[in-house]
């Protein structure tokens, strides 16, 4: 079996890619991509850390189930905000947006 540190390394790299996207992109949908990648990094980290104890903790898997559900809700609300903003302002470049209410 692969050592757990390799899984942690993949998680750190995913987190780095996500932060890079958050800081350098301006398209709102792409920023949502980055947030989802960071969610995945956190989930992978939780599952790998739950295996660290010698009868593994099942709480980690339960927590990740909750996190996945929360991420799906966040995506739903975020995408509906993006659709609303694109209707009001005719663009979704976050550096050019100044109003959310029409």
């Amino acid at each position: 079996m692969e050592p757990l540190s390799s899984f942690f390394a993949v998680s750190v790299i995913l987190l780095g890619i996500g932060i890079y996207g958050l800081t350098t992109k301006r398209n709102a949908i792409r920023i949502l991509f980055s947030v989802e990648l960071i969610y995945n990094a956190a989930n992978l980290n939780i599952i790998a850390f739950a295996r660290l104890r010698s009868p593994p903790l099942v709480t980690g898997q339960v927590l990740v189930l909750f996190t996945i559900a929360l991420a799906a809700m966040e995506a739903a609300v975020g995408l509906s905000i993006i659709i609303l903003v694109s209707r009001l302002n005719a663009e979704i470049d976050l550096s050019k947006l100044s109003k959310l209410k029409g």
Binding site: E2, S6, Y20, T24, R51
Partner: protein, 164 residues
């Protein structure tokens, strides 16, 4: 065998994540994001969390990626990509790369985290479902309340005042 699988899943995940951020077309980006989610699900399978892996595939690829594709089609694929100033980007990239290299270097010391023991009955689906429904039943109910609130909020947000 497990090493090869791990390497394949890790490479697919990281490559597809980079592609999702950097692809010119948002539709390709969404597809690459789906492939990255699939790679993470494969890593979950390798960690003996098969149910979480299937849940990840169903929710992320079945719901989130499809939702993102719908939004890209509704908003228009080519909207809003102005390039950022080079100085800020390069500074951020330098900070990030040094952070990543430092942390992965620290994690490469495999003695700090030994390989996990074989899972046995600790990873069984029975244990997971009992824990989910008995120990965390209240939290599960709260989660469904939050989900209802999120759906109602999304509906209320996307309702415009065309009727007036």
């Amino acid at each position: 065998m497990t090493d090869l699988l791990f390497l394949a899943f890790a490479a697919v995940t990281i490559g597809a994540a980079i592609l999702a951020i950097e692809a010119r077309d948002l539709v390709y980006g969404a597809a690459a994001l789906g492939i990255a989610f699939l790679g993470v699900a494969g890593l979950f399978f390798l960690l003996d969390a098969a149910y979480v892996g299937w849940f990840q595939i169903a929710v992320y690829i079945g719901a989130v990626v499809v939702l993102i594709l719908f939004t890209v089609m509704l908003v228009g694929p080519k909207m809003g990509e102005t390039p950022l100033g080079l100085k800020r980007v390069s500074l951020l990239a330098a900070i990030l790369v040094s952070l990543l290299l430092g942390m992965t270097g620290a994690l490469a010391n495999a003695t700090a985290f030994p390989g996990p023991d074989s899972c046995g009955s600790g990873c069984s689906l029975t244990l997971l479902s009992t824990s989910l429904l008995k120990s965390y039943g209240v939290q599960l109910e709260f989660m469904s309340l939050v989900m209802a609130a999120a759906v109602i909020g999304a509906l209320a947000l996307s309702k415009t005042d065309r009727g007036q």
